[in-house]
């Protein structure tokens, strides 16, 4: 198990390094970054001063070496737009992002699993149909559209929740729901199909023959195995959730990493863009590692050693 984790960790470091090369090249190989930063009509002297300020006049390998050396010291350079260290802005935005993604994950998983179990246990009837429709709707509508609808209903019409911004629990509800609904629909369908498969297996029949209660059969013996694909999907979905959060954060003006990346792209702040992407990729690698460890807990058959 230990060797497996170390191996996966090294693999993750390589992935992050590849991402760093790709994002570095993407911001340098395209149009001259100095042209993107400079004001319209800038002369060569202004462009040269920008190139010098951001080290853009060095050869690419030297630029990359300086960039990666600084990244290893948690220094992502200076934000072109805000004029502050990128790392400082990143840490400032991180709690809001984690809070949003964490709450959306909690909403999507708790609802998705509960609804999936209910749907698997009751194949027909009103509840099942309602859950299916709810899942279908969540999968069909883009999250920014859901966000707009929620604002219209709960803020403008009912005047129950704040429209945008950050600060209280009430500010969090609509953004987290907009982000979580889509994913909860997927978890509902996956939990349902996976649980149905497990409920038809031999060991579950044995549990029933032994006279265990239905709650114990489903909750203790079946659900644990049925959740393996759900956990896998939940881990993989982290990155989708963070990238999906860009649109939700924009609509609700939620000050997370997504909004920071959006502003970075709009204001041509390539230092911010590369820092956010690198940070998200590192988070992704870490989450995958956590998912791998969870496998071992959920399924005793998995023996990595």
């Amino acid at each position: 198990m230990k060797r497996y984790i170390i191996r996966r960790f090294i693999f993750g470091v390589i992935v992050v390094w590849i991402v760093s090369v790709m994002i570095f090249l993407a911001t340098r190989i395209g149009p001259d970054p100095a042209l993107m930063i400079a004001s319209p009509g800038a002369d060569e002297a202004e462009l040269n001063s920008i190139r010098e300020r951001f080290g853009l006049n060095e050869p690419l390998p030297v630029q990359y070496f300086i960039f990666i050396k600084k990244v290893l010291q948690a220094d992502f350079g200076e934000s072109i737009y805000y004029g502050l260290p990128v790392a400082e802005i990143l840490w400032q935005r991180l709690p809001a992002s984690l809070m949003l993604v964490g709450t959306a994950k909690f909403i999507s998983l708790s609802f998705g699993i509960l609804a999936g179990v209910l749907a698997a246990r009751r194949r027909t009837g009103f509840t099942n149909n309602l859950l299916r429709w709810f899942s279908f709707l969540g999968l069909s509508m883009p999250n920014f559209w859901i966000a707009m609808l929620l604002i219209l209903i709960f803020s403008v019409q009912l005047k129950l929740l704040p429209t945008g911004g950050y600060g209280t629990f009430w500010h969090l509800l609509m953004p987290a729901f907009s982000l979580g609904w889509y994913f909860s629909a997927g978890y509902t369908r996956l939990t349902e199909s996976s649980l149905l498969q497990v409920l038809n297996s031999e060991y579950i029949k044995l549990c029933r023959v032994k006279g265990l209660t239905e709650l114990s059969v489903v909750g203790k013996h079946a659900l644990k195995n049925a959740l393996i694909p759900v956990v896998t999907l939940a881990g993989m979905n982290i990155v989708l959730m963070i990238s999906g959060a860009v649109a939700v954060e924009m609509v609700f003006a939620w000050p997370g990493l997504g909004l920071l990346m959006y502003h970075g792209a709009i204001y041509r702040d390539f230092n911010v863009v590369q820092a956010v992407i690198l940070f998200i990729s590192a988070m992704m690698v870490f989450m995958n590692l956590v998912v791998d460890i969870l496998y071992a807990y959920l399924d005793p058959r998995i023996r990595y050693d």
Binding site: G30, P31, D32, L35, M36, A38, P40, G41, A42, D43, S79, Y81, Y82, G83, L84, P85, I89, Q92, M148, I151, L152, S155, V156, K159, P162, T163, G164, G165, Y166, M250, V251, F252, A253, P255, L259, L260, Y262, H263, A265, I266, R268
Partner: protein, 334 residues
């Protein structure tokens, strides 16, 4: 600055304005508190908060709900929505931006755009009033790139919408069936529909273009890097004076010029007498207009949603500034 250094100053700046710095969260909000000893007057509003809300629908909803008092940049559908909101007021100060179409191949004798009749046809093919009504309500057609009130700017009437005359001019120029005008780069993101409508007007008279939609970073990098050569793009000179505008269009951001206009421009730059400068820049503007060197399109504005708590017109002092200044003049009803 000596005590806290550059980084410290950025975190807690001190100025001489009507509001004291309280808090900044970069890209999220800026909070200021009234400076009671401000020389001009004591600010009426004791605490000002500026929140960056990228989505206009959210900004408008916040003003409707009373979470914000002023929401800026309410363009397009939001402008119409705002006009229908009974509790809100809409104020739309004009911005100093003039949209123009820049034809980069007009100096290439082989290009159809080299013929002034073709450029004039392209100008007459555009229904500027509809363009403004649809995409920039409250704005209107313009015929010059200079601003009203600029003593050196010459005002020309906006060219009329005359597609029949445009077709006639194209026929006279040797393009009775029209021609392909090259790549066309509308201005970034939110303004793409504005550019697409221009392409539609041109198509109606026989000028087809290949519309290329680019986001702001790519668009500006291409525009400044000279990579739009051979194409057409929408430009937005922002300098408040005609001299500043021409300087941007003739120097760093130039894709070419006519030798006589360039010579006059060089003369203008060296000229020191006010009268001489005025004469030269007037001649330059007339030549630009006669040759349809650039196609002026419409003025632009910044419609804002004003909530019921705001008293009077917060734009009253400097109408050409996009945003609500001076802040010390903003008053609330209660």
């Amino acid at each position: 600055m000596e005590k806290v250094g550059d980084a410290g100053f950025k975190k807690h700046p001190i100025g001489a304005g009507p509001y004291k710095f309280v808090e900044i969260v970069p890209g999220v909000k800026l909070v200021g508190e009234a400076f009671e000893e401000y020389w001009r007057k004591v600010p009426h509003v004791k605490r000002l908060e500026f929140h960056i809300i990228p989505e206009p629908a959210t900004r408008l909803a916040m003003v409707k709900r009373g979470e914000a008092d002023i929401g800026t940049l309410m363009q397009g559908v939001f402008y119409e929505d705002l006009k229908k909101s009974p509790n809100l007021r809409m104020l739309a100060p004009l911005s100093p931006v003039r949209w123009i179409t820049y034809l980069t191949t007009q100096w290439d004798p082989k290009s159809p755009w080299a013929d002034p009749r073709v450029r004039q046809a392209a100008s007459l093919a555009i229904d500027r009033q509809t363009l403004a009504d649809v995409h920039m309500p409250g704005c209107g057609p313009v015929g010059a790139i200079g601003l009203e009130g600029d003593p050196l700017a010459v005002d020309f009437p906006p060219p009329p919408y005359d597609p029949e005359k445009a077709k006639k001019l194209l026929t006279e120029a040797g393009y009775p069936k029209g021609f392909h005008g090259g790549k066309f780069y509308p201005y970034q993101g939110g303004y793409w529909p504005y550019g697409e409508q221009i392409a539609t007007y041109w198509k109606a008279v026989g000028i087809t273009v290949e519309t290329v939609l680019l986001d702001k970073p790519a668009l500006l990098a291409m525009r400044e890097g000279g990579k739009m050569k051979g194409g057409i793009f929408i430009d937005n000179p922002t300098s408040p004076t005609i001299g500043g505008r021409l300087s941007t269009l003739f120097s760093g951001g130039s894709y070419g010029n006519y030798p006589d206009i360039q010579a006059l421009w060089e003369q203008y730059r060296k000229e020191t007498t006010p009268q001489g400068r005025k004469e030269l820049i007037t001649r330059i503007q007339k030549l630009i207009h006669e040759r349809t060197m650039w196609i002026p399109l419409t003025s632009t504005n910044s419609p804002a949603a004003i909530g019921p708590r705001v008293k009077g017109n917060p734009y009253k002092i400097q109408p050409l500034i996009w945003f609500t200044v001076p802040f010390e003049d903003i008053e609330l009803v209660n």
